[in-house]
Symmetry: C2
Subunit: 413 residues, 2 copies
């Protein structure tokens, strides 16, 4: 049968990380299945279900109006609760009329970029960055991610030079850059941006008339430092900014596929709300999430406990990595350890990195993610997601370390 050209393009699409995720799901490790696979490649929080469970499984309190049509960019009552939540989170006053809700943060990015960019335009993204952005930008909206490569040599710090270099690169590829997309706290680096760096980003955006998009999905998953939203300082500087948030990370509810956009730009919001028609969240899910948000005391306890558990998991992870002589970047947020395994590469190449990835997946039966999918500047770095029970982290690092012992480390040339 006839498939359109754009439909054919989808068939060529590869998502190696997603495939590994489901491979692991078929034979998962547990204390009872010690030979199973351990998936530390997916950015999910596996430490909080016991806290959520009583609330999720109470009667949802669905009323008749929930079964009928409501605004497709989010029910008024839900957006009211979200606006209170986001006001507290970002430190600026957010109103329900400045929000669009949709079925996941990827959907939000897809719609936002649709409205900000013509096909072929570009968005600068500090790298290493969340692998899904390539998919979100390219698949339907056909916008070019322009990586701004930070370097391991100075601890992956985002500098003005790095952003300028990206803009220059885009110019050479004749890509019109419309904005900058940051993830704060950062995935895969597992840490917040400091105030000075954020101010630099804002100044750069103002100088080059770029829209600022800040993905703040991990805002509440912070333990060693303080997260600062881009909202406040963008407002002070008088530039346009757009905050992406969702329930996947901070609430441990990636399966509930609920994301949102906060923007003060009315026209942009209107355009996104029109597209949200095709990406709505079920009122049933909105009601269940409302039940979480409405319990203020519970919510505070949940986030406190979440931070504690993440700090504990991160601590154990970094300690055992260090015992095994594996370097990881310092971190203070998110679910990630960013590991340097470059000395185990047969050559300084993306191919050698994939070989090492396969080696670890097959020999250690642990799925961690090769840095190339995040556009790491140098090969040999890996992302490990540690928001898992302690025993699983210890087991994984042991296995990874054991699998590396067999590798002959090439002489430095």
């Amino acid at each position: 049968m006839y498939i359109s050209k754009r439909g054919q393009r989808l068939l060529e699409h590869q998502q190696p990380l997603v495939r590994a995720h489901f491979l692991c799901a078929q034979n998962p490790w547990s204390p009872e299945n010690p030979d199973g696979y351990i998936n530390l490649g997916t950015a999910e929080n596996h430490l909080v279900f016991d806290l959520l469970e009583p609330r999720l499984n109470a009667s949802p309190g669905i009323q008749e109006h929930h079964t009928h049509y409501a605004e497709l960019h989010g029910m008024e009552a839900f957006r009211e609760l979200l606006s209170g939540y986001l006001s507290e989170m970002t430190g600026v006053l957010v109103s329900a009329g400045e929000l669009a809700v949709a079925s996941g943060s990827s959907s939000i990015i897809d719609m936002l970029v649709y409205a900000l960019c013509e096909p072929g335009d570009g968005i600068i993204i500090p790298a290493p960055y969340y692998a899904g952005f390539d998919h979100d930008l390219k698949t339907r909206v056909q916008v070019e991610p322009v990586p701004a490569f930070t370097s391991p040599e100075n601890g992956h710090k985002l500098t003005l030079e790095v952003l300028q270099q990206a803009l220059l690169q885009a110019g050479r590829r004749t890509i019109k850059v419309r904005g900058i997309l940051i993830t704060n706290p950062n995935n895969p680096l597992g840490r917040v941006y400091d105030r000075k760096t954020l101010e630099m980003i804002v100044a750069f955006a103002r100088e080059h008339k770029l829209q600022l998009i800040s993905d703040e999905l991990y805002a509440k998953s912070v333990f060693g430092d303080r997260y600062i939203s881009l909202a406040g300082m963008s407002e002070e500087a008088g530039i346009d900014y757009h905050i992406v948030y969702g329930f996947a990370k901070d609430f441990g509810l990636s399966g509930f596929k609920t994301g949102m956009l906060f923007t003060r730009q009315e026209k942009l919001l209107k355009a996104v709300q029109e597209l949200a028609y095709f990406m709505p969240v079920s009122n049933a899910t909105q009601k269940i999430l409302s039940n979480l948000l409405a319990g203020k005391a519970w919510l505070n306890h949940f986030f406190e406990e979440n931070s504690k558990r993440l700090a504990q998991a991160s601590g154990v992870c970094h300690q055992v990595l260090s015992e095994k002589g594996i370097h990881a970047e310092p971190n203070n947020a998110g679910f990630f350890a960013w590991l340097d395994l470059s000395r185990y590469l047969s050559s300084a190449s993306a191919e050698a990195e994939m070989e090492l990835y396969q080696h670890i997946l097959e020999n250690a039966k642990v799925n961690i993610s090769p840095g190339q999918v995040f556009h790491g500047a140098e090969p040999g770095w890996f992302r490990l997601c540690y928001a898992r029970p302690e025993q699983m982290i210890r087991e994984s690092v042991s296995r990874i370390s054991a699998s590396l012992e067999h590798i002959q480390i090439p002489e430095k040339t």
Copy 2:
């Protein structure tokens, strides 16, 4: 700020029916608010919440794996339940691997047409048709709906000539037609297609190598006749077909935004599944809907009762219309009476129809939908949704009738 050209296009967009829906929602009629608006313009079933409520508000039984990522085109367990349900509904054997679930039937149409058509291609749709199809086809995927106009003179019967005429029209507009989209049972006509007509459609599709899309959202909302799925006879004829279904109509759950595609075409399904990444349904909602599907005895009772109530509402509606001298087409399915008010038009034009629509909305405070949004072939027809309590139907028809009394009927020329 800069909004992309495609973003701008969204801002120009008008959805008059949706606007009236929310106007009515602000001041809704009830026995306690007798001066409020009555909305009979939205295709929703308001007769079944009492049946659903105990099941919807039981503990949903969410397990840890539901809170994490699952396949974004629908959880395996949910698609298993759906395959059983659809097998029974359509009469052909459906497997879970032939389904894609997404956030509403509009999303399914959007993705399906994306994969079937290049921008600018066309899809023939027998008219009058569901007004949302224009939006679904044009907004993101930029495909042209090609109406095949049925005529009031022969009771809006779909004939071979009507389809041939549409194909001819498309040719004149240099539109490449890729498929035919039918809604069976039909919206807004409120009736099933008979076997002979379906066979004619299948033969026409085969002759012209067109894909067959059958939107069967009202399959279980039938009371006077038998619904026949297009699936079986398409298979016998050996042609490609694609069935769209969802929970909005038959389950009275338009607010739960859950639709699905059943197709045997692997490549097409793969393309749709890729796009479903941006339009997933929350696992929480999938679990609640699974709880409905899993209760076989409950489900049978629900549909039996639903048919009974729809038949009753339809009967009352047609009886009072007839008492007031208003002609409606005979019906046997769905939530719709298709009314002929053409004799109250000041002229045989779309403008006059809109005048009458506004007249009724303002004077009777009843929202019914003007035929032009469904591409009715002749002005003066209206769709009235009667899946409402009896008192509301009686009140509405009285008010409409009273508002029409003041209109001077122009002499026939």
